[in-house]
């Protein structure tokens, strides 16, 4: 569907406003850390597992740092110090802490040794992640993958073993990507649950063991089908960087990771989120994981026609923040959605214009295109038709990642048959219409072009306003998604601390510089 004629000057201005916004927030981020960031360092040092009360050891470590007042120095140094001083592995140290037999603040601090030990332990983690990344590349080369847009479906039974059955069946039916949806409420937990789980509501707990179980299942079926099947889970929430680390270790391929989602939609404190997303994205970037941003969510509360520009503005911000975390464009799966009220005339024209506009403004990004959800009703037949129009739009505009709509969207998380029908719908439409992408063009100056120009103009104006206000202030004023959040409100603020002058996170630099990944960000 070649080229809407967009004003390149507007695109450049919008991008530079977003860069300004991101830079400003980055100054704040760079001076802070959070409980979650430090738990992540602990996890990457190999501190997995829970104590007798089921509390993750990583949490025990950070509680100990807080108690000892040395969280601002970072878990890396504290653990490095302990390991070096006491000749323990980080895991052993953590177990002793959990048992109440060790307190990190009480160990005399020898900065150089601490730092060296931290770097050593970090390096081990980096090697594990790098090897997972290389394994992905090997498998992709060996098995190949489906054509774009990749077909993305969710499993959400609440039980990881049922999820496996459903995921394997979906892969057979043509899915390229499986996302294991998370149970309600997990994003507000300030720790990551542990082990294989079978009890979730509207989704399945994100645990490292669940990641591993699903990765194994998908690798198996991928071998059988001779097609690499990608695995997705959610980073966003109070444990954003921790889950990103788990994903990196277990070779997830994509992660939901939005700089604003937690703030706006989960009332997580904005300072906490900004700091957490930065490190989580560094990890995603290093691991070769594609992030999925959540702009689709705006349109579940706001109107898709009048709020279209907020999606675009947020995409620009997410892109710039992602760049600061070292994510290359091809790992930035910006989100958008087919959510225009189907009772409106021209809804298909407007959707095509919006999708094509996003495609052109972010040409290298594997855009993640979300199906109709809020206008889906219990009329599964009408819903299936809407999904067909969505599938067509995704193919015609060359989206990167196509999350398939379910005919039962308004009813329940997908049944096995719902997902199958969704894949059948998408595959038929893609097969029938794929080459129309190169066959049809928009007339110059037509309604589609006018609409895209209008949305771009509004997004630019919005970004300029946000740049003036600063992002935090803008959110306080309720500029995004009609939601107002205070800088000091929301969940998780207590986990935010200013970095001490000698703060050190042994992962930031090597990850940003793509250590062990010969060929830079390859």
């Amino acid at each position: 569907m070649p080229k809407l004629n967009l004003d390149p000057a507007k695109v450049t201005s919008a991008r530079s406003a977003a860069a300004g916004i991101s830079q400003e927030i980055h100054t704040f981020i760079a001076a802070h850390t959070t409980a979650a960031v430090e738990r992540t360092v602990a996890r990457l040092f190999g501190i997995d597992g829970v104590d007798g009360d089921g509390v993750p050891l990583a949490n025990r470590v950070v509680e100990d740092l807080v108690r000892g007042g040395i969280l601002p120095r970072g878990a890396g140094l504290a653990l490095g110090n302990a390991c070096a001083s006491l000749a323990l592995t980080p895991r052993q140290a953590a177990e002793q802490i959990a048992a109440g037999r060790l307190s990190l603040a009480k160990i005399p601090f020898t900065p150089d040794k601490a730092r060296a030990a931290a770097d050593t332990h970090a390096d081990e983690a980096l090697r594990r992640i790098a090897s997972q990344r290389k394994q992905r590349e090997r498998l992709l080369a060996e098995l190949g993958e489906g054509p774009r847009p990749y077909l993305y479906v969710i499993v959400a039974t609440g039980n990881i073993y049922e999820d496996v059955t459903q995921a394997r069946a979906a892969a057979r039916a043509g899915a390229d990507i499986i996302a294991v949806i998370r149970t309600t409420g997990q994003s507000l937990l300030d720790y990551v649950p542990y082990g294989a789980t079978t009890e979730g509501f509207g989704g399945t707990y994100a645990t490292q063991e669940n990641f591993r179980i699903m990765r194994l299942a998908l690798d198996e079926i991928g071998q059988e089908l001779k097609r690499y099947i990608r695995l997705v889970n959610y980073a966003s929430g109070l444990c954003m960087p921790e889950i990103a680390a788990m994903g990196a270790l277990e070779r997830l391929d994509m992660m939901l990771n939005d700089a604003l989602y937690g703030i706006l939609f989960r009332d997580i404190n904005m300072q906490r989120t900004f700091i957490d997303q930065y490190f989580s994205r560094i990890i995603n970037g290093y691991a070769g994981i594609i992030i999925n941003t959540g702009e689709d969510n705006y349109l579940t509360t706001a109107d898709a026609v009048t709020a279209a520009h907020t999606v675009l503005a947020s995409q620009f911000i997410n892109e710039q923040l992602a760049h600061l975390s070292g994510l290359p464009n091809r790992q930035i799966g910006l989100g958008h959605a087919f959510e225009i009220d189907p009772s409106l005339p021209d809804s298909m024209l407007l959707e095509l214009a919006q999708a094509q506009m996003a495609r052109q403004i972010f040409p290298e990004a594997p855009l993640k295109y979300m199906p109709p959800t809020k206008h889906m009703t219990g009329n599964i037949f009408a819903g299936h038709t809407m999904n067909a129009m969505f599938n067509l739009t995704a193919v015609l505009t060359g989206q990167g990642i196509q999350l398939l709509g379910m005919l039962t969207e308004a009813i329940h998380t997908p049944f096995l048959q719902d997902r199958y029908l969704a894949l059948e719908n998408a595959r038929y439409v893609a097969r029938a219409a794929r080459s129309l992408t190169d066959e049809l063009i928009f007339i110059p100056g037509g309604k589609a072009e006018q609409r895209a120009d209008e949305v771009l103009g509004q997004a630019l104006a919005l970004l300029r306003r946000v740049e003036q206000l600063g992002l935090m202030e803008a959110i306080e004023q309720g500029i995004f998604a009609d939601v107002k959040r205070s800088r000091f409100g929301g969940k998780g603020l207590e986990g935010v601390v200013k970095q001490a002058p000698d703060y050190y996170n042994p992962f930031i630099v090597p990850m940003l510089t793509k250590k062990h990944l010969n060929g830079g960000d390859a």
Binding site: A173, G185, F201
Partner: protein, 242 residues
Amino acid sequence: MEIRPYGDTLNDGAMQLSFTLPVLPGAEAKEAAKQLVHRMGFEAVSVVHMGDLGEGFSFFVVYAKTPMAIDFSSISVPKVDAKQMGFYQINEFIRQEIGRKVVVIGACTGTDAHTVGLDAIMNMKGYAGEYGLERYPEIVAINLGSQVPNETLIARAIEHNADCLLVSQVVTQKDVHIPNLTQLVELLEAEGLRDRLVLVCGGPRISHELAIELGFDAGFGPGTLPPHVASFIVQELSRRKH
């Protein structure tokens, strides 16, 4: 009046079904699908599609006829007991019959984060052309938003001396809403607050009948508009006063 499903001839009983069976597709699977539907009492069972879902599952589309009928005249549905009033009428009713502002607190409770439905009822801008409760001059509407623990909701109710609680529950997988709603009633009873409050719930799978069963005063499902809810609240308050 006895009624039956209708395909193309009155009382033909025609129905469409689809479902999955945990067996590989094949003649036996198709027969199993047919027998299963037959055993449910259907007649003229026709398995018109069998698809391979993979992993040892098969998908079926079936058309069949039910001999079952239902006496339509005997159906009665419990309905929210309130005269429908509009925005102006409701405010006037409060002024006349209650004589003070009505305090309403809303929340999506438990781990539910679906605020759109509750917002439709409460927000200033309202829904489908009807103002939300926040716009009513005689109502003090406090929307606590999403993922509010029952305990927090009760604490706020006490704090604001609320007249009415509005609870939204949208996620219903594995019936997660039932214990959550039940627990609220139990907590309120334990605190001796239950009778002081008009207790209302809503959501796409909530019916008035279910709400009553769970110990609420009313329940509102899909398509509810703010004045429906407000009409009930103020009339219920006035009833209790008298």
